[in-house]
């Protein structure tokens, strides 16, 4: 992945950044690969690979991290019911939301809400946008992969401690997970 830093054309990277920005701005929307490829002016075939090379995660997984980040912010800052938060952040089922939330953060949405509120002191002077970026979950492992590992009791590590990218064996279509 490190050789990608020097090998990708900055003009291409700038256009890939545009796709990333669009997901950031509307992570609750569906982002099928053809929509992202159109934003970046690259072919669908090249998009996912180029995005991963540029940003270290496939676009679909990047989208999941943003949704969890949004959900975490809503859990902390609002009194919205968790089902409503799931809907607003792009999931169509509460079950899928809860499962992926646990997979990524290691906790239940309700527990995150209580803990975030207890800790919400003294952060008022950091701009919210930067604060939320700092709290972005570091999703390096495919959610399905992690679930599988946990089922086999292999790895209970927190997401941030996972050091290597597991090899992908199947090429999956990139789209906003419907839930």
């Amino acid at each position: 992945m490190s050789e990608g830093l020097a090998s990708q054309d900055p003009r291409l990277l700038r256009r890939l950044l545009r796709a990333k920005d669009r997901m950031d701005a509307a992570s609750h929307e569906d982002w099928p690969v053809q929509r992202l490829a159109r934003v970046s002016h690259v072919s669908e075939a090249h998009f996912a690979r180029s995005f991963k090379e540029a940003f270290g995660v496939p676009p679909h997984r990047y989208l999941l991290t943003r949704r969890i980040e949004q959900a975490t912010a809503l859990l902390r800052d609002t009194d919205l019911p968790i089902s409503e938060i799931a809907l607003r952040t792009g999931w169509q089922s509460l079950g899928t939301f809860g499962r992926i939330f646990r997979d990524i953060t290691g906790q239940n949405p309700g527990a995150v809400r209580s803990r975030a509120r207890a800790a919400a002191h003294g952060i008022g002077s950091v701009p919210n946008c930067i604060l939320s970026a700092a709290e972005r979950p570091d999703l390096r492992t495919a959610v399905s992969e992690k679930r599988k590992r946990q089922r086999h009791g292999i790895n209970r590590a927190q997401p941030k401690e996972i050091k290597h990218e597991p090899k992908r064996t199947s090429s999956r279509t990139i789209r906003a997970r419907p839930g």
Binding site: A6, L17, R18
Partner: protein, 137 residues
Amino acid sequence: MSQSVQVAGLYVRDQDEALAFYTEKLGFRVHTDVRNGDYRWLTVQHPDQPSFQLGLFTPGPPVHDAATAQSLQAIVAKGGMPPLILAVDDCRAAYERMRAKGVEFTQEPIERYGKVDAGFRDPSGNGWKLIQARKSN
């Protein structure tokens, strides 16, 4: 005795493009534009903040070798540089004005906790927040 920040710089992919962006779309004006061979020291200044210059620099020789310059260009293009904040009196008005000039916004104005903020990028990929402070009263 006093100290203050006089110049802080950005890396940009093209100084002419950046100069046009910061002057024509954001309202800065040229402070210094001098060349020495391929090297160009270019700073702009906002009329409301005459004590500060924003440098618009291109990675490259004599400061960087080719591989380093390429890496820096890539980082800028990926939005990897630190956040920049432009303080404004009226975020929504600034947003409308800048958007009409073709500025690429990444976030529409949002009000949170009494502050209004929006996000945009320069052509190179540097990310800015446009922040309207809470009304003090």
